[in-house]
Amino acid sequence: MNKITADQILDTYEEIQRQRGVALLSTGNIDRKKIKDAIADVFSVDEKRKKYRHTRLSDMASRLCFLLVEKAPFPDCNRLTAMAAMFTLLEVNNIRLTLSAEDVNHLYRGLGEGMEQWEIKDWLRSRPGTSGTF
């Protein structure tokens, strides 16, 4: 399994901002600790069983998205970054979802209305092409 790091999530945010054409004046108002906490939570290990707490990849991805939205470490674009990080985590592990514009918009709106972690997971697993195997 391929993990991702807090720095890479920061990269994601910066890349999004760049694409949006917003000038990055400083990164001082980004809460790095929150990002690190989120990553540590997602990839936390049960020492006794020597297994990940969130056993499936879909668990991890949805947890990452949920935590990033909930903790809101960035001054703006939290939802977008969370979504990008989630999809990238899946992509890094060779799982590519077939997404339409409607799907993405639906998730984006849902995150704004306070989607729970399990809802995100269900949404992920119900995408066509994956058949809930990850």
């Binding site: 399994m1 991702i4 694409q19 949006r20 297994k51």
Partner: protein, 702 residues
């Protein structure tokens, strides 16, 4: 001339009835043993002929002087029923006695004084409890139904024939179960419809029409047909009896497949009724709006039906039987020969010959029987030799290396059969020459045919072993035993082997060695589309491409794989669990000492057994036991099939995801970025990210 039954010759008929009933009893008892039902309490075999002779004499006395209809002696009427029951419908002793004596209890009084009257007591004393109950039940049935003697008589026959038909239907179902087929409700429903519609209808021979349907269904069950085909066989003549509404409802009431077959049978029947030119005959099976497989099944049903019609054609009047034989020879036989249905071809051929050239047929039959009789000693000796040879072969070479659990050499069912009455070779040329038939020649007629049927369950490749043994033994045969192996050929893609032997007296023996499934295919031709049997008896591939090989499980199931496939591929082709927990593989051997690594490459025609445990032996596989997973990542290098690769990848990816922090890696920045751009592209299309320009992205990607 034609052999009509003359009812005056009572002794001969009695002898025939006794003989046939003894055979039926034996058959019935064997079936009961197979089905493990209640065992026989008394030795019926010794008593049954005695009982029947008593009943015969008693009936003759009782019916003396009674005539039926236009001065036919009533005894002859009863005799005819008894004869039909024994000859055509596998009647048992009780039913024969019942057919003879039941009218006495239905109100008929003994006409002549001084004759010993039959009472319930004496019945029980003579014929035992079962027969007594059966007779009384039959008498009650007939008495209740109709007061008039003639109708009462018909009712009685109906009742007895009904009993016999029930038993035949049970036999059909038993055969289907023997073929490991599930009996679906469609069969029962078809039997119900058939027995309902055929009630009261008789064939010219006197037996009920239902029995004809059952005969055809029986042949189909022999062949290994599934429920739909058997249901269609039961209903193959029923269409004219149905209303339009019922005909349309067959899809629902029986099954869609059976209705489809029935339509094909009707269409084929219509085509056979026409006079066809040669080109049309060749394309007779290409029915409009019908699947070719359906047409083949329809042909099976038609062939079985025609066979029964020919067997009972002696009851037809005038020249009708002659016309039927002629029609069969011109229309059916070429088609059956074309499709390799040897069983039907042989039987229909000899039946036709009996009508078209009775003298020739009887001459051939008699001289053939004489030849067999003269050489009986040699034939028996040869059979003993064959058995001894197989046994000695087991002990000497293979028993040491095989586990005791296996039946030696895989001959779980060894069965020899002599097809004496059927002279297949040169039958036509013998009969066509009108000016004196040539004498039957030992050289041109196979004298004795022996079939050694091997059951492959739990054994590697018995045919192959046997062949090797034959080749080894052949060298020493000539001098020691006097048997000479003349010819050896293989049919059906090398799985039915024929040996032609000659002994010191110039007798010839033809020995077939085959697996049961292949033997059936040899007999019945192309067995296509028969449900669960399809897997076992699939057609041999004519154009076997070089890119694929066929390997066999111990049970004889075929598995097609690409060239270069290894044990891993074959294990995954069986089941995912077997693949994951495969330990090693046995190829063409049952000896654990010869087990090979699971990554060994298989070759065409190999028999294999995948072991999941070091101590596992062939046939030892139990579903309940849990085997540890032995799959390794290196296996991915040895797999050929996509199934195996997918299963392995799925397993490993799941395992790494689920419980393996030790396998974790951190995605490097380059990969992460590449993935990120892909994701952002998608988000971009959703108008969530509005790019400023493409330049940045290009730079970053570089």
């Amino acid at each position: 001339m034609k052999n009509f039954i003359t009812w005056e010759n009572k002794d001969r008929i009695l002898a025939q009835i006794l003989q046939k009933t003894a055979i039926n009893e034996k058959k019935y008892r064997r079936n009961e043993e197979d089905g493990k039902s209640a065992p026989e309490e008394i030795d019926r075999g010794s008593k049954q002929s005695e009982w029947m002779q008593k009943a015969f004499i008693q009936a003759e006395r009782l019916y003396q002087g009674i005539t039926f209809g236009s001065k036919v002696p009533y005894f002859h009427v009863r005799l005819r029923t008894a004869y039909l029951l024994s000859e055509e419908m596998n009647g048992l002793t009780e039913e024969i006695i019942c057919a003879l004596l039941a009218p006495v209890f239905a109100g008929m009084k003994p006409p002549t004084p001084g004759v010993e009257t039959v009472s319930g007591e004496s019945l029980r004393q003579y014929y035992g409890k079962e027969t007594c109950l059966l007779i009384q039940a039959a008498a009650r049935q007939t008495e209740r139904m109709s007061p008039r003697p003639k109708e009462r008589d018909a009712m009685l026959d109906e009742y007895l024939f009904g009993l016999a038909c029930e038993r035949c239907f049970r036999e059909v179902k038993r055969k289907m179960r023997g073929n490991n087929l599930i009996i679906e409700p469609s069969v029962e429903e078809a039997y119900r419809i058939a027995s309902d519609k055929y009630r009261g209808h008789r064939r010219l021979s006197g037996d009920p029409v239902l029995f004809h349907a059952l005969y055809v269904a029986d042949r189909m069950a022999d062949l290994g047909a599934d429920s739909d085909a058997v249901a269609a066989a039961l209903l193959h003549d029923v269409l004219p009896f149905l209303t339009d509404r019922e005909r349309e409802d067959l899809d629902v009431s029986v099954s869609p497949a059976a209705a489809r077959y029935l339509r094909a049978v009707a269409e084929l029947d219509r085509r056979f009724a026409q006079t066809l030119v040669k080109e049309e005959q060749e394309s007779i099976l290409s029915l409009p709006q019908t699947d070719p497989d359906d047409a083949i099944i329809a042909l099976y049903i038609q062939a079985a039906s025609r066979l029964h019609n020919l067997i009972t054609a002696k009851y037809l009047s005038g020249t009708e039987y002659f016309r039927m034989a002629d029609h069969t020879e011109t229309h059916y036989l070429p088609l059956l020969q074309k499709h390799g249905m040897r069983y039907f071809t042989a039987l229909i051929e000899s039946a036709c010959l009996q009508y078209s050239d009775p003298e020739g047929a009887s001459f051939i039959g008699e001289s053939y029987a004489r030849l067999i009789h003269q050489n009986r000693r040699e034939i028996l000796f040869f059979e003993a030799f064959l058995k001894k040879w197989i046994a000695s072969f087991n002990n000497a070479t293979f028993a040491r290396r095989m586990d005791d659990k296996f039946r030696p050499f895989g001959v779980t069912y060894q069965h020899t059969q002599y097809q004496i009455s059927q002279i297949k070779a040169n039958l036509r040329s013998l009969c066509s020459s009108q000016s004196g038939l040539p004498p039957i020649n030992k050289a041109n007629t196979p004298l004795t045919r022996t079939y050694v049927i091997l059951d492959a369950s739990g054994v590697g490749s018995p045919v192959e072993y046997f062949l090797r043994a034959a080749l080894c033994a052949y060298r020493g045969l000539g001098s020691d035993t006097g048997y000479l192996l003349l010819d050896m050929k293989a049919e059906l893609s090398g799985r039915v082997h024929t040996f032609l032997w000659e002994d010191a007296y110039k007798n010839r023996f033809e020995t077939f060695i085959a697996l049961r499934a292949d033997y059936k295919q040899y007999l019945y031709g192309s067995l296509v589309n028969f449900g669960m049997r399809e897997k076992q008896i699939s057609l041999p591939s004519v154009d076997s491409s070089e890119e694929q090989i066929t390997v066999y499980t111990p049970r004889g199931d075929k598995i097609r794989l690409p060239v270069g496939a290894t044990g891993i591929d074959v294990a995954f082709a069986l089941r995912a669990e077997i693949g994951l927990s495969a330990f090693d593989i046995l190829i063409n051997s049952q000896d654990p000492a010869f087990a090979r690594d699971i990554t060994t490459t298989l070759h065409d025609g190999d028999f294999f057994y995948v072991r999941r445990h070091p101590q596992e032996t062939v046939g030892d596989r139990s579903a309940k036991r849990e085997y540890p997973v032995r799959a390794r990542l290196e296996w991915l290098r040895h797999v050929k099939t996509t199934t195996a690769r997918d299963q392995l990848i799925q397993y490993f990816s799941q395992r790494f995801q689920e419980d393996s922090p030790e396998f974790e890696t951190v995605a490097d920045d380059k990969t992460y970025r590449a993935c990120l751009y892909d994701v952002l592209k998608i988000l971009d299309q959703s108008h969530l990210v509005i790019p400023q320009s493409g330049g940045n992205r290009k730079e970053a990607a570089e």
